[in-house]
């Protein structure tokens, strides 16, 4: 199947939407409500494009691509429609970008900038919802919500938790838990998938607050340190500080998903209770020691025990949390240096 986008011939396959073909061919069509893995809703209309032979602009995310289609993504008619949509969104949006946690990573902010929207001709009502920061992980500021409903869809369709839905109608439409309770008094499991999906500053990570702007952080891909699923994470790092953790989009096996521990359980590494020096016990209490002293003490004790009782009088258990290379190294120490197969770990218990 071939379609023409902005004068360029693009290959697509049957069943793809105009958005999918365009993105695969390198064209940037903005979206707010689109979620790659879910059925398109076409709700926000920001992805509108012009298609020859169609009277109205169509939403690229929900329009199937058809052979021979001629599409324009950058005509004045398209840009003007997008500008109008952004103006509408901005008309009731708190323009506190200077202090907003999302600044630099906000789709609405980026769209306003790209489309040259500096304000709105349609000053109207504003929301006045209380900001909910009553839990340690997720801050909810629905004054900034643009009702794209990605949070609702990932909660219901991706994570299958069904903690949030929309309530009310019209301007008063709001995302809420049952009875509009706090998250901790709802069925929410704090996976934070809603935060990752939110294109604006309505849902943000509380721990990240003040630690670094999006443009100051680098993304480092890594693997979650909790269960055995092996979820792929992106650490957003400024200097040596993890600002926040998101799921690596599209990565195997988790395909952009995390749970509460994977997303929010990372900052133990900064605890001031960490062990920071080798310790040797003397007269029933620990004193700090140098590495040389502690390592020599252990090596000499092992040598003494091997000489007196043989290598099988020494045993060790490795760590199922640490990296492969550490377990490899420990079993090598026991087998090749100490001379015993008394090496195990907690797999059996």
């Amino acid at each position: 199947m071939k379609i023409t986008i902005n004068g360029k011939s693009c290959e697509g396959v049957e069943g793809q939407t105009v958005l999918e073909v365009a993105r695969a061919s390198g064209f940037n069509i903005p979206t707010l409500c689109h979620l790659a893995d879910l059925t398109p809703t076409g709700a926000c209309r920001i992805c509108v494009v012009e298609v020859d032979g169609m009277r109205n602009l169509v939403a690229a995310c929900s329009t199937p691509a058809a052979d021979g289609m001629v599409v324009r993504t950058d005509s004045e008619r398209v840009l003007s429609a997008r500008r109008f949509i952004v103006e509408l969104l901005v008309s009731c949006h708190p323009l506190d970008c200077m202090t907003c946690e999302k600044t630099g990573d906000c789709t609405l902010q980026n769209l306003a900038y790209e489309l040259g929207v500096t304000g709105s001709r349609m000053e109207g009502d504003r929301y006045d919802y209380p900001v909910d920061s009553s839990n340690p992980f997720i801050v909810r500021d629905y004054n900034k919500c643009i009702l794209c409903l990605k949070c609702v869809r990932v909660c219901n369709e991706i994570q299958g938790i069904e903690a949030i839905k929309t309530t009310q109608r019209g301007f008063d439409t709001k995302v809420a838990t049952a009875y509009d309770n706090t998250l901790q008094d709802s069925t929410c499991v704090f996976c934070g998938q809603c935060v990752q999906a939110c294109p604006v500053g309505a849902l943000t990570e509380k721990k990240a607050k003040g630690l670094g702007r999006a443009w100051e952080t680098r993304k480092v891909r890594t693997t979650c340190p909790y269960c055995g699923v092996g979820c792929q994470q992106e650490l957003h790092v400024k200097g040596e500080q993890i600002v926040k953790v998101t799921a690596a989009e599209g990565a195997s096996p988790n395909k952009g998903r995390l749970c509460v521990k994977g997303r929010f359980g990372y900052d133990f590494i900064y605890s001031n209770e960490r062990l920071t020096a080798p310790l040797i016990k003397e007269n029933g209490s620990f004193r700090e020691a140098s590495w040389d002293e502690a390592l020599d003490l252990v090596a000499n004790k092992f040598k003494q025990i091997i000489a007196e009782s043989g290598p099988d009088a020494i045993a060790g258990v490795s760590c199922a949390r640490s990296i492969n290379e550490d377990s490899y190294q420990m079993q090598k120490l026991f087998r090749a240096v100490i001379g015993t197969n008394n090496i195990d770990h907690c797999a059996r218990t």
Binding site: N135, F264, I269, K301, I314, E325, A336
Partner: protein, 527 residues
């Protein structure tokens, strides 16, 4: 796992037994839920009506420790009603006749009596399993943490062989592993019987191979001790030095009084950890270690996928990478090891010595990891094992197994069965989650009991009660919940105070030496 998480979303049927997936492996559970939305069937076999059970088409609420009786009864129906995959069994399996003879000893009525599941429900599950193919069988510690753990595992494999659910996508026997690198620690040979890559230490050729690679004259030829045996050998000084790397044994092992007696009697205990723990209290020397994000390396997940872990910060104070600590001890004992980074250890040693990992190098796993077996640099990795019923040993072998009751069953003095597990908001002994805000979501242990028992004993929701076993006692709040059937108490071991491990029974599966965390007898008292 024989299969992969990526196959969950397209699976047509799941049989989940002894797995609390929504709490212990939440992200895996999301893919299962996605499959259910698309019409997949779910059978849950679990004594508790936990969240996964609530999603099930059929929930078989078996009695604790009756897994084999239930599964044998299920297979009895499948064979009796001719519902099994005759072609797969005939061509791809061995030992069917002996297995069938054993299964015939478990008519559905007997299975029903032992497991507490209605005969008609067992028949219904058998017929459902026979009509939807393939089915993925998933299990977790509900299967392994019994004195019959090994036989429980065999029984799950028997079922999947009988149904021909092996060697294809969205099928297989899939143990979901609880810790990020428990698969990797096994793969690396942190086991008393195998070198890296499951090459046996009793095999002379393997010993020679590793002796050459490690530049030593010889390597020990007998299997070593398993962890519970090591600890039991501490009081009589058969083991004189014990080296504990990154484990909080004082909280995680059954019967804390016994474990602490053993640790306290160690002549020389070395602990290597990122935090002071209840275990490091007993140490003579403590080494401070680099943690996750403070070293480069790899974890191997449940689905045999070797994933990269990356360093983003320096370790605090004098803390050092673990591999460096082991290398330094080796040096002081006269051995010079060349590799001087995780990448050098993996690329130049591990993947060279373990054939199944031969094709995995750091350069190939910059993004998504690779699943072993991956023997060559061109190999794409293996999403599911035993393709087309080609098993490692030729054919799949049926293992006839008998049901045995747990070692300690309720009696007049201790009339409740205590079963243990994990909760969503905490992880193991909370060394990590206890320091990352999770206490907000779960701040203390509870004893989960049924509304019927609560009413019988006059226990109110959140009332502090005493739970007592032959080993010890704890005071915790009662959490009265429909999840737990009458006669059962359910707890975790996340909090030292109120940990289930003050109560659990240090009895083990004789082959695996896995403790029976899932079943012991307790009493409940109001304070």
């Amino acid at each position: 796992m024989t299969n992969s998480f990526g196959e969950f979303a397209d699976a047509k049927m799941f049989l989940c037994i002894g797995t609390n997936m929504t709490e212990a492996h939440p992200v895996a559970a999301t893919f299962l839920k996605n499959a259910l939305r698309k019409g997949a069937k779910l059978v849950v076999v679990d004594p508790r009506r936990q969240p996964l059970a609530k999603l099930a088409d059929i929930h078989c609420q078996i009695n604790v420790g009756s897994d084999i009786a239930f599964l044998n009864g299920l297979m009895n129906v499948i064979i009796d009603e001719n519902l099994y995959d005759k072609e797969f069994v005939a061509n791809r399996c061995d030992n069917f006749e002996a297995f069938k003879a054993k299964i015939m000893e478990y008519p559905v009525e007997r299975a029903a009596e032992i497991s507490g599941v209605e005969p008609e429900t067992i028949r219904e599950v058998a017929r459902l399993l026979a009509t939807v193919k393939p089915a993925m069988l998933c299990y977790t510690l509900g299967i392994t943490e019994h004195t019959t753990g090994k036989d429980n595992v065999m029984s799950t494999a028997n079922l999947q062989l009988l149904l021909g659910n092996m060697g294809m996508p969205s099928a297989g026997v899939n143990p979901l592993r609880g810790q990020n690198n428990v698969q990797g620690a096994c793969d690396m040979g942190a086991l008393p019987n195998v070198f890296p890559g499951y090459q046996k230490v009793v095999d002379q050729a393997m010993r020679e191979k590793f002796a050459k690679a490690w530049n030593v004259e010889k390597l020990p030829e007998n299997n070593g001790m398993m962890m519970p045996h090591m600890m039991e050998a501490l009081p009589d000084k058969k083991i004189r030095a014990f080296y504990v790397f990154g484990e909080n044994l004082a909280n995680t092992e059954p019967d804390i009084h016994k474990v602490e007696h053993e640790l306290a009697s160690a002549e020389f205990l070395v602990c290597q950890d990122i935090f002071p723990t209840e275990t490091t209290r007993f140490a003579h020397v403590v080494f401070p270690a680099a943690s996750w994000s403070e070293d480069d390396g790899t974890f191997s997940s449940s689905e045999r996928r070797v994933n990269r872990v990356r360093k983003v910060k320096t370790p605090p104070g004098e803390a050092k990478p673990n591999w460096w600590i082991f290398k330094e001890i080796a040096k002081r004992m006269g051995h010079t090891w060349e590799s001087n980074s995780s990448q050098e250890i993996w690329d130049n040693e591990v993947s060279v010595l373990a054939p199944a990992l031969g094709g995995i190098k750091y350069s190939r796993i910059e993004e998504d990891g690779l699943q072993w077996p991956c023997p060559t640099l061109e190999h794409p990795g293996t999403a599911f094992l035993h393709r087309d019923g080609m098993f490692t040993h030729g054919k799949g072998v049926f293992n006839p197994v008998d049901w045995k009751a747990p070692a300690e069953i309720p009696d007049r003095e201790y009339p409740f069965v205590l079963s243990t597990g994990r909760r969503l908001y905490q992880y193991h002994t909370r060394t990590q989650t206890g320091r990352s805000g999770m206490n907000f979501l779960m701040s203390e242990e509870t004893a989960d009991i049924s509304p019927a028992d609560a009413q019988k004993l006059g226990i109110q929701q959140d009332e502090r009660i005493k739970v007592r076993s032959r080993r010890g006692e704890v005071e915790v709040r009662a959490r009265v919940t429909e999840q737990v059937p009458p006669g059962m108490v359910w707890m975790s071991f996340h909090f030292r105070e109120g940990s289930a491990n003050w109560l659990t029974n240090a009895v083990y599966d004789p082959a695996t030496m896995t403790a029976e965390y899932k079943a012991c007898a307790v009493n409940l008292e109001r304070l």
